[in-house]
Amino acid sequence: MSEIALQVNFALNIALLLMLIAVGVAIARMRSLLAAILLMGVYSLVSAVWLIVMDAADVAFTEAVVGAGISTIVLLGAILLVRAGPVRHNWRMTIAPAVLVLGVGGLLVYAMTGLPEFGDPASPANAYVGRNYLIQTPDEIGVPNVVTAVLASYRGFDTLGETVVVFAAGIGVALMLGFGPRSSLPPLPAAMGDHHVVLRVTARLLIPLIALFAFYVQFHGDLGAGGGFQAGVILAVAPILHALVFGLHETIAALPVRAVRSIATLGVLLFAGVGVICMINGGGFLDYDHLFPPGVEAIIPPGLLGDPDHAHQWGQHFGIFFIELGVLLTVAATMVTIFYGFAGRAVEEP
């Protein structure tokens, strides 16, 4: 049974990569921007399945929501605002890039032959750091999902940096699109004669389920695939769907712009605050073993959560819980801010 699984994995790897190349070539040749965006969605769906074949379940989660959902919607909003026509092609402009690409590609292929074989467990990338994380996580962190452990605990400072980058990008979009006379679109009248009953009923059913599922992904994140980044982008899809079906003004009435921007800030503050609390209690920045003061640490019964031999894991569990919550708030609020920026901006008069 399982030999078949290995062979299927091998065959799927090749088939999906060939599909990716085919879609990539089609994107490059497509004149219509809209078709290119649609194919980008297909491209990221294929790459997400490929990620599952490559055992990267957490990444597949993110790629699915971000690539096929949010980035497609943002691109659509952007081409609505720029009212871009079909891309013009100029034959003279394709020769120099083709030569350049062939040259660089040849160099990269030459360099590629020096890489270790695909799937080699003894390659430098797999044999040292990654393996150490796998070995030490049960003892030091005590969560089954090693990706969450590395993301939130071992590389917590890096993750704080990523969260701040996402937050800063949200500020950038809000500054460029979310202020000024064009940022507040007057409510558009609902189109006469249109009554999308099917869509409205389906959306009404799905929006709460999407939000619920986001929280499942969030709190299930240390046991299985999931975590703050994945849950954040899923949670952002719920207000986006609401705005798409019931109108942006309804959504802004329920979830004001100001509140969304504050939530994004709150997430970053929560993340950094956990780090500062660890410092106050005598540890390093984001060192969750010192999340609780020594006095509290002493009265925690060993084995309350996790392994009885490692009482420190209590701090790790709660530290990961709080910073994942901060990541969730920041990512979700930033994505909603970006959507508000693109969807709420008025198109200039022609």
Binding site: G85, G193, H195, L199, T202
Partner: protein
Amino acid sequence: MVDALHLIGGGLVVAGTLLTLLGGVGVLRFPDVYTRIHAASLTDTGGATLVLLGLALISGLTLETLKLGFVWMFVMLTTPAAANALANAAFSAGHTPRIGAFQITKGVAAGEAGPDTPRRETSDGNKSAAP
């Protein structure tokens, strides 16, 4: 018993896949948008039902079966709704269904030229149904 269930489940998965393939042939071969939507959405829901039922038989009574039920529910909710939205958008953009072998379809290229194409206002059948 367990082996028999696995066999039946696998058979259902293959049957669902065949239905999906049939839909794929329909999407490739049918002449206009509406018939293609018809082929894709019907075989997608049918194929999903068979595949997920087969997987549920394989997994038995576990948490995974519940998740399979959720997947089935979402597919059954979203695929017809999306097909509805799609057909609505195509019809209001001026695609006329192709009836008969020799009728020339006027608006087939209406959605082709990208965002610059002015949207054709149509008096579609929705108006009569409005409250």
